[in-house]
């Protein structure tokens, strides 16, 4: 078995009763990879994760892990770790007992148990909290306990459900680094589910963007960020100006077709990030309807023939006042061509 298919989802379909959540999903995950499942709520990412863990039975398709078909293997025999969004700690047990829970079930006792648990708590920096009850801990500490509880089992795959969304901004950065460190040190294959593109881009080796129960795009953070394949992905990763192309012209939401300078690439659509819009010069005019200061930049909302355009300019440059008229350009060279639209 090559590394390229450590975990392999083969035409996986998942349904809640008659509602189809995931349809014919194919996905290869490498050993030691840090993979993000990214998408809006309801896209099937959490369902996929639950199916990998064995908490949900696929309606069709197979899950292959390390060369073995685990589709019908019960969840308690898969040795796949899952850090729940709520952490799901056992409130009646101490931190130590929480981390020891799985090891005890696997017959570990005495010194060996103590050593493994203490190592686990050491890794997440909670050695001093072993005898606390979990409800006494802060959210960040609870998550570390949940992480340690899964990691001490040396799982084949460790999954995390929205690992950073319950933390405040400062803790989020800390936990991000922590997760990366734990993953690199242990070499565990890690899959995390998120709806936050910033999290996915910052943390993952590879990102799977999901939409309506299917994969929209797979790629490295750079590929996803720079070359979205569809208007959906473009929208998701911060291309705020997304337009369809029909008959070589840009079509806007209100129906106007607009010709751009230069030849349009063979694509179904074009997408510009706010900073790709050039302000001050260009063939188009817009009226400033919104300005907000964002530290290094100023963000503008322009009303134009294209509808509403989001643009950005260096904050050191003099700003354009509200309701002033302004020339701008949408250079084709700066746009990301989209293979799919809608």
């Amino acid at each position: 078995m090559s590394d390229a298919s450590y975990l392999f989802l083969d035409k996986l379909s998942l349904a809640y009763g008659k509602t189809i959540a995931v349809k014919d999903l194919d996905l290869n995950i490498c050993k030691g990879e840090l993979l993000a499942l990214l998408g809006p709520s309801g896209c099937g990412k959490t369902t996929t994760m639950r199916a990998i863990a064995g908490l949900m039975t696929p309606s069709s398709g197979r899950i292959i892990l390390d060369g073995a078909d685990i589709t019908r293997v019960p969840a308690n025999r898969r040795n796949i770790g899952l850090v729940f969004q709520s952490y799901a700690l056992f409130p009646h047990l101490t931190v130590f007992e929480n981390v020891a829970f799985g090891l005890k079930l696997h017959g570990l006792r005495g010194e060996e148990l103590t050593r493994r648990v203490e190592d686990g708590l050491e890794t997440v920096g909670l050695a001093a909290f072993a005898n606390r009850k979990t409800p006494e801990l802060s959210g960040g500490q609870q998550q570390r306990v949940a992480l340690a509880r899964s990691m001490v089992m040396q799982p084949k795959v460790l999954m995390l459900d929205e690992p950073l969304s319950n933390l405040d901004a400062r803790l989020r950065l800390e936990m991000r680094t922590e997760l990366q460190r734990v993953q690199k040190e242990s070499g565990v294959t890690m899959i995390f589910v998120t709806h936050d593109q910033v999290e996915a881009l910052a943390l993952a080796d590879r990102i799977v963007v999901m939409r309506d129960g299917a994969i929209e795009q797979i790629g490295t953070p750079e590929e996803i960020y720079n070359s979205p394949v569809s208007s959906f992905v473009a929208d998701f990763v911060g291309f705020e100006n997304v337009f369809a192309i029909s008959d070589g012209r840009l079509s806007t939401k209100d129906g106007a077709d607009i010709a751009l300078a230069g030849t349009l690439p063979k694509a179904k659509g074009l997408a510009w990030r706010p900073r790709a819009i050039e302000l001050g010069t260009g063939p188009f005019t817009g009226v400033v309807r919104g300005v907000s200061f964002a530290g290094g930049t100023r963000e503008y909302v322009l009303e134009s023939r294209f509808g509403s355009i989001k643009a950005e300019a260096d904050a050191k440059l003099p700003g354009y006042p509200l309701n002033s008229e302004l020339a701008f350009d949408m250079p084709v060279a700066a746009a990301a061509p989209l293979q799919r639209f809608g």
């Binding site: 064995g54 025999r77 799901a88 056992f90 409130p91 696997h106």
Partner: protein, 259 residues
């Protein structure tokens, strides 16, 4: 101004109405006289000590204790799995089951008792003890289901999934994770069930046989023949027992959270 006076006054009257008789009974039980009377004639402990001597009281106390403990335990044995199933799974008839389980609270006890006697005990020739046991189990079941359901509702189901992913079976997860976290609710249900069963009159009234009767029924029977203050003494003792149990439960479990 009148309103400010009216509210506490009403409260006081209600309190007197509810608790007043209790003080009368307690006072009467220390009487030195030969009949149940208030105000008591003199002071003595003889009626209190008589309670422990009357053979039928001892027997019926044992029956009541057996029913209260056994009936409540069996109600919990049925009620905990039922509550768990109704809270965790979308069952087709769960609302119907929930309603049926609550029925013994809604249907007047006198009807339950008569129905049990006429259509259960007589046709099958069931022993009175067993009939009482079944009846008390059914009467306590609604409390067991309600209180346990309430504490299960506060328990997230992903905790069990976490246990399963760490290698536990589903059943193991129930015993290792669910049960320890609802034990407060279970104890609360037990106390509520115990008190309900112990104080039960109308159903037990129909299900009394030679030598088998619950303590409240026995007290009624005793009073028809003998009108001495020993019944008052027994009532006081039982009341203090109940108060003791509820106070202990509140002190150690925060009983009022569950009821």
């Amino acid at each position: 101004m009148t309103q400010r006076l009216f509210a506490p006054l009403t409260l006081l009257l209600v309190m007197i109405f509810l608790i007043g008789p209790f003080f009368i009974i307690v006072a009467a039980s220390f009487s030195a006289g030969e009949t149940l009377a208030f105000p008591p004639e003199g002071f003595s402990l003889k009626w209190i000590s008589k309670v422990f001597i009357v053979e039928s009281f001892r027997q019926s106390f044992a029956v009541s204790m057996f029913l209260a403990i056994g009936g409540t335990l069996s109600a919990l044995l049925l009620g905990i799995p039922a509550s768990y199933a109704m809270s965790r799974y979308k069952l087709p008839l769960s609302e119907t089951v929930r309603f049926m389980v609550s029925a013994p609270i809604i249907v007047p006890g006198i009807i339950v008792g008569l129905a049990l006697l006429r259509y259960f005990v007589i046709p099958i020739g069931l022993s009175i003890t067993l009939a009482l046991f079944v009846a008390h189990t059914a009467l306590v079941l609604p409390y067991a289901v309600r209180v346990v359901s309430a504490s299960l509702a506060n328990l997230r189901s992903d905790m069990e999934e976490a246990a399963v992913l760490l290698g536990s079976s589903r059943l193991g997860a129930f015993f290792r994770v669910v049960l320890p976290n609802i034990r407060g609710g279970i104890l609360a249900a037990f106390i509520l069930g115990f008190v309900t069963s112990f104080n039960q009159v109308p159903v037990s009234l129909f299900l009394s046989g030679p030598g088998v009767r619950t303590l409240p029924i026995d007290m009624l029977g005793y009073m028809e023949i003998v009108f001495d203050p020993s019944v008052a003494a027994l009532s006081s003792l039982l009341a203090f027992l109940s108060i003791g149990i509820v106070f202990a439960a509140e002190r150690f479990l925060g009983f009022s959270r569950y009821v």
